[in-house]
């Protein structure tokens, strides 16, 4: 069944949704949406470097994302520098540098749209192996650091005081994010990776009463979005990434809509999503 491109796209997309769900939750809990953007936009630079040095694109994107993540972590440690403006500046400059670098390489023919918005036709069996293999490794690490990462998310000071190692898990989290960006680039494209990470998680928030539950619901909503989005993409000949994101957005809107019915059911234990940074990417 891996023969036809559409099955490959679906299976790849599901793999991405499975890792994007839990990581997306952490992006929302830690208010890292802009951070994620900066990271994913740097992926294009990874593509340019891969083409220039004839490296594997996924590997190159992963390495560049890790380096950018480390740089961001360092900047964040020097608290005064980690402003919104700085992240915004970085996010779009790395994207621009990537685009310029690609334009310079006149000798390679690049499907720029494919990198920016995802290209379901281009997914190979090797990509599938990368997505599922890489995804499994990411999930294994995430499971291992889950409690410590969550504690560090709730309070860095508390986690540090009580014997966790928040710096270590934060670093590992950044590496995992870089890995997810590298493997999901082909499916959704660099411009919309953050959206795929955060929108299913944001939609899950409303139904969840525990962090673990929210991660699982985000995975399910991500899979649904990929399924609907890719079918839509095939049907209407629209780019894969935006179609998936539109489907995810539809899930989110549905999750917010029936306010009264849901409120009655979940009673005291729910509070609405009200952070401006969540839906934005």
């Amino acid at each position: 069944m891996f023969d036809d491109f559409f099955s490959r796209a679906l299976i790849g997309g599901f793999g991405v949704a499975v890792v994007a769900g839990p990581l997306g939750c952490f992006i929302i809990w830690r208010r890292l949406a802009y951070f994620g953007d900066t990271l994913s936009h740097s992926a294009l630079l990874g593509v340019a470097i891969a083409l220039l040095l004839e490296l594997n694109i996924t590997l190159s994107v992963f390495i560049v994302s890790v380096l950018v993540a480390l740089m961001l972590l360092l900047l964040q440690k020097r608290a005064s520098l980690s402003s919104d403006a700085l992240l915004g500046l970085l996010a779009h400059s790395v994207l621009a540098i990537g685009l310029v670098a690609l334009a310079f390489m006149t000798w390679v023919r690049v499907d720029l749209m494919g990198f920016l918005f995802g290209d379901i036709l281009a997914i190979t069996t090797v990509d599938l192996a990368l997505i599922w293999g890489g995804g499994a490794v990411v999930l294994a690490f995430l499971a291992k650091i889950w409690r410590a990462l969550f504690a560090a998310t709730v309070s860095y000071d508390l986690a540090l005081a009580e014997g966790n190692k928040p710096d270590q898990v934060n670093l590992l989290f950044m590496v995992l994010m870089a890995a997810v960006i590298a493997v999901s680039m082909k499916i959704v494209g660099v411009l919309l990776i953050t959206a795929l990470l955060i929108i299913p998680a944001a939609a899950a928030r409303r139904f969840a009463t525990s962090p673990e539950q929210m991660a699982v619901i985000a995975i399910i909503l991500g899979i649904v979005s990929v399924y609907i989005g890719l079918n839509g993409s095939l049907e209407f000949d629209t780019p894969a990434g935006p179609s998936i994101v539109v489907a995810a957005l539809a899930c989110f809107v549905l999750s917010v809509l029936p306010v009264n019915i849901l409120r009655k059911r979940t009673g005291r234990s729910q509070k609405n999503l009200k952070d401006p940074d969540v839906g934005v990417s």
Partner: protein, 269 residues
């Protein structure tokens, strides 16, 4: 020894937040930090926990110290789906029985399934304390743990803190503005104002000139009741040492105050 600071200080942007702090916390002892706002109490607590590294001096902690921390402020992101029970298991695993008994100790069993974001200020503090006492920690740092807790709750929680010290034999570093509580339940007091103004037993601190100039005569005269109480107990020949300032008060109410409890003491503030 659980934790010790020796001449420790923290410097930020070329300004010393606190400096020259020396103290130790041992098992079974409550050490209290008092001082005005901004005097460096929270900073000192973080230094003791190793959350911030001292820029000067030496800090030591017992190897693999099992510490629990109730910070002064904990702002939870409203996007966190986090029930009280899950919050209690934040850094430690615990079974249902342990969680139940920690919640019962702080009178919050009925909140077990409630989301943290829906707790009132006082309920939140009680749950913070429940989390801190879970799984018998060796070292507890409580930074203004009863802020926003109702009157009876406050007395109950301070009693609980004392009980924990006794039953778990753990060391407690407490930051509190309730001077009466501090003086009656604490083994040692450290009075901060950017540096250590004075330290020692509650009686010694309450009678010191530095304490009086920092907290004013009113606080000092209220607390002198305890000073008398302590002096009385500590003199070997049983005689009562009365200095001029506290004499009148002693005459009026020393009988009551020897068997003082918290509520009465608070009314004297």
């Amino acid at each position: 020894m659980l934790v010790s600071l020796e001449n420790a200080g923290i410097c930020r942007s070329e300004k010393w937040l606190v400096r020259g702090v020396s103290m130790t916390v041992d098992r079974g002892e409550i050490v209290t930090l008092i001082g005005p706002n901004g005097s460096g109490k929270s900073t000192t607590a973080k230094m003791a926990l190793g959350v911030v590294a001292a820029d000067e001096g030496v800090t030591k902690r017992k190897d693999k110290l099992h510490a629990k921390y109730v910070p002064q402020k904990l702002r939870l992101n409203s996007n966190l789906p986090l029930s009280v029970t899950r919050f209690l298991r934040l850094t430690d695993s615990a079974d249902k029985v342990q969680i139940h008994s920690a919640l019962r100790a702080t009178e919050t069993e009925h909140l077990a399934a409630v989301q943290m974001s829906n707790l009132s200020g006082g309920e939140f503090q009680r749950v913070m304390l429940a989390r801190a006492i879970l799984n018998s920690p060796e070292f507890l740092v409580l930074d203004e743990p009863v802020q926003g807790v109702d009157y009876n709750g406050e007395i109950m929680l301070y009693k609980l803190i004392e009980d924990i010290r006794d039953s778990l034999n753990c060391g407690i570093l407490l930051i509190s503005h309730d001077l009466h509580i501090v003086m009656s339940k604490t083994d040692r007091v450290i009075c901060l104002n950017g540096h250590v103004c004075c330290s020692g037993t509650p009686a010694k601190v309450a009678s010191s000139q530095e304490f009086k100039s920092l907290f004013g005569d009113r606080a000092a005269s209220g607390l002198a009741l305890y000073e008398h109480h302590h002096d009385h107990e500590h003199l070997p020949d049983g005689s009562i040492r009365t200095d001029k300032r506290t004499k009148t008060q002693n005459n009026v109410s020393s009988k009551n105050l020897v068997s003082n409890d918290v509520d009465e003491a608070n009314e004297n503030v």
